[in-house]
């Protein structure tokens, strides 16, 4: 992972099209602004993981074969 240090008001580029600006930094967290082409989806990581995991959870199973065996 690339780690770098930035101050409030500074920004960085990912490729030619995506800009991330660090708007505000305090003890509560960081406020960032993202400028990116409309076709790029931006999601909080936990929401992205939940969406992917929901898709996996919706796949076909065979309920007849399932049995809970733990005590």
């Amino acid at each position: 992972m690339l780690v770098l240090r930035r101050r409030a008001g500074e920004s960085l580029m990912i490729g030619d099209d995506v800009e991330i600006e660090f708007l505000e930094v305090n003890s509560q967290g960081v406020k960032i602004g993202i400028r990116a082409p409309r076709e790029i989806t931006i999601l909080r990581k936990e929401l992205h993981l939940t969406e992917m995991q929901n898709r996996a959870a919706a796949l076909n199973i065979d309920p007849e074969k399932l049995k809970w065996t733990a005590k």
């Binding site: 939940t50 992917m52 959870a57 074969k65």
Partner: protein
Amino acid sequence: MPLLATKYFGKLSCEPADCYDFPSGIPGYEGERTFVLLNLPGKEPLVFLQSVQTATLCFLALPILVADPQYRLSVSFEDLQILELELTRQPHIGGEVLVLALLAIEEGAAATANLMSPIVMNLKNRRAVQAIRCDFAYSHRQPLRGLDRSGTC
């Protein structure tokens, strides 16, 4: 009693008391607003969350305390608002809310429980959300012991 078309169990009659309203759907399935909780004999403690709109959408789930007896809830302010629960404290599992972990069973991989994003269902008003934690205290793919899927047991 209305008959409900289900993914795995044909047509079942369902009680309105088992229907839960998801005002914002769930991530990946935002249009799915009503799910029925199916408890089937011989399958306990496993439960099924069947979409009312879409017969082909059904999730397998476990009560969260079965998946992890030490589980501690962390429902966000926004989700407590959707559930119409008290905003100043976490709800009591079992008393006020039913909390489920969705299970994923993928070919050739261990069964996993999503402890990061539990389904929280208000037992009083039947409103429900997938309450996504942002603290990363629990995994979205927690390996699950105790689920036999060979059908031999």
